[in-house]
């Protein structure tokens, strides 16, 4: 772990030495041009440094400020709705623009379920792709396949949506749903009639969309695992599978969790493709065969025609809830990565 501590020491050293030289700068008067060659060159450089520093500070502060501004705007705009419905907004299910009664529970439920379903499908798939590409694939195959997988990320989401309507849904309805119903129709997860547009279709589309992100990052993480890890495991008599499972994957745990969380973040916010296949129904149904709704889809669908103040305000509150959930997921991911990373460091020291 020598490599890790050095940069840390260096940056600490820099942060202690630089401020001293900078604070000394303003007291010195600007040197006249004729005496420039003599000594005060550093003064000029320090002046530039100061401007540079302020500039960077301003730029760095812009983003957090923007975040604060967004939160403030969301809270202000959703205030009428927060005030009228209180917490019932989060757990009631009626969404009636005519009667001006709004409850976002179905959308919150739909967002979480579709995203989790996407993860359940995408994580094994992406990890499989990443492991195959780094550990098992022949050299000539690695780059082309990696490129193709990453290319999936470049497809616009509306195209995924169209593909969902015209290809995925008919396939699911005609070939996948009947056997699933015959086998698992008695479980609450798969009962009811399957029309096509459903939570299942939404989850599958999302899974396909987040696979490139999780796969690409996991692949980078696995590539960064030192060869010594594998060699040591193989040297101890492990099979290749055992080496991957026991030595490589645990080493990259933190990075892989980060990748999964990035995928989850994207799934939570995805709008267009989901709204085209999920059925857009304000209802909580346990069955994946039934249509559902997500928060991002509802905002995209209803915002432009929301005429009354309360309707608009309710949509803003949906945005606020989505924002809070996304921040929560990210914070949780950070925490997880941090804890896992700490675990890894301890583990590797023990090795």
């Amino acid at each position: 772990m020598v490599g890790e501590t050095t940069p840390g020491k260096l940056s600490r050293a820099m942060s202690t030495t630089f401020p001293q030289t900078i604070t000394s700068a303003p007291s010195e008067p600007m040197a006249p041009a004729s005496t420039l060659s003599a000594a005060p060159r550093p003064t000029r450089r320090h002046y530039g440094d100061r401007v540079y520093r302020w500039l960077l500070t301003a730029l760095a502060l812009t983003l957090p400020l923007l975040l604060v501004a967004i939160v403030a705007e969301l809270i202000v705009s959703s205030w009428p709705s927060i005030h009228k419905f209180g917490f019932s907004f989060i757990w009631t299910s009626v969404w009636d623009p005519v009667g001006e009664v709004y409850g976002a529970a179905p959308m919150i439920f739909g967002t979480l379920v579709s995203s989790l379903l996407a993860l359940v499908i995408a994580v094994p798939l992406s990890l499989g792709v990443a492991i195959f590409l780094t550990e098992f694939a022949p050299k000539w195959l690695r780059q082309p396949v990696a490129f193709l997988v990453e290319l999936l990320a470049a497809i616009p989401s509306v195209v995924y949506g169209l593909w969902g309507i015209y290809v995925l849904i008919p396939l699911l309805r005609d070939y996948a749903a009947p056997p699933i119903r015959a086998l698992l129709g008695w479980t609450p997860l798969f009962n009811g009639i399957f029309y096509g547009n459903s939570m299942l279709a939404g989850g599958i589309i999302l899974a396909i969309m987040i696979v490139p992100y999780i796969a690409a990052i996991s692949r980078e993480v696995l590539l960064a695992v030192p060869a010594t890890q594998r060699e040591a495991a193989l040297g101890l008599g492990a099979t290749r599978w055992e080496a991957v499972w026991g030595a490589v994957l645990p080493y990259g745990r933190a990075g892989i969790i980060g990748a999964v969380m990035l995928g989850l973040g994207r799934a939570l916010g995805e709008t267009m493709a989901v709204t085209m296949v999920i059925g857009n129904r304000h209802d909580i149904a346990l069955s994946l065969f039934q249509p559902g709704y997500t928060m991002a889809a509802a905002i995209a669908n209803e915002f432009s025609e929301a005429t009354s103040t309360m309707y608009l305000s309710a949509l803003f509150e949906v945005g606020l809830v989505l924002f809070v959930i996304t921040i929560g997921v990210n914070a949780f991911a950070r925490l997880l990565v941090w804890r896992v990373a700490r675990g890894t460091a301890v583990g590797s020291k023990a090795l």
Binding site: Y166, N197, R281, Y293, F303, E305, T307
Partner: protein, 352 residues
Amino acid sequence: MKKQLTVAVLAMGAFTAPLAAQTKITGAGSTFSNILYTDWMQTYNKAHADVQFNYQSIGSGAGIRQFSDKTVDFGASDAPMTDSAMGAISGNVLHIPTELGGVPPTYNIPGVTAQLKFSGPVLADIFLGTITKWNDARIVADNPGVKLPDQDIVVVHRSDGSGTSFILTDFLSKVSPDWASKVGKGTAVNWPVGLGAKGSEGVSATVKQTPGAIGYVELGYALANNLPVGAVKNKAGKFVAAWVQSVTAAAAAALKTMSPTTDFRVSITNPDGADAYPISSFTWMLVHKDYEDAAKAKAIVQYTWWAVTTGQERCGELGYAPLPKALQPWLEARLKTITAGGTAVWSGPAGR
């Protein structure tokens, strides 16, 4: 190419002759009216190069908001403004009907090619979810001789707020007390059953892809895409299919119950008249009663008058139903009331 040239020439004109006073008029709203409005503005601009238009089809609701904030000079909406929305801008708005919209039901029933007929209450019960099978006795009774399958009905509705939904739900509220009490009318409602799809294209795609589906689209979209549409029973007891003529006939029939001073926000669904298609509605241009800028007010009034007279000839070709001719004198009287700073701006028709 020709259009681009025209634009380029106009742009050059703007540079070389800055003395000719340009009036810039901005509008926003209805996506439904977009094709017609854009066509009107281009045609009008050819004869009146001094008036420049900019219309943004951002949706009726957003159009009403921008119009109320005075971000744009006029709005366009498929659903009339509510009393409270009008109160918020001290009633400084006139609803000027510019064309008509009709909403036919479209469906996908494997093996059925005949045009289906729906009476109002049956349509309401289908959308309420109380009629669930295509071979339900009440549908069969409306369609003698058509062999309907024992198939589940899948309702498809708009997931985005839409004037199209407003027209349909307005009609269903009139023909079904159940619908009126449980759901009501609006650009977005709490749909009792079914799948939501975004836009007319979303609804028609979902209907096409789902056996047993029934949805609704605007007339122009159904005509342009050759969708199977159902006939709907009107108040006179006749099954009428949505068609440019039958929608105009609905407005003409509704005029009989109106007077020159009627608020044009009036609903014309389910009118009398044997040839009237019952799921029809005006769509409106929203203009202020009083403008601050006299030149702007004058240009808007002239353009609007042109649109509701000469402009109507373009409707049929583009899949919109034109206003009945009898409405023109009423519209003229209404446009004459528009003022700028309290002074009337009407100066007679602008000609072609």
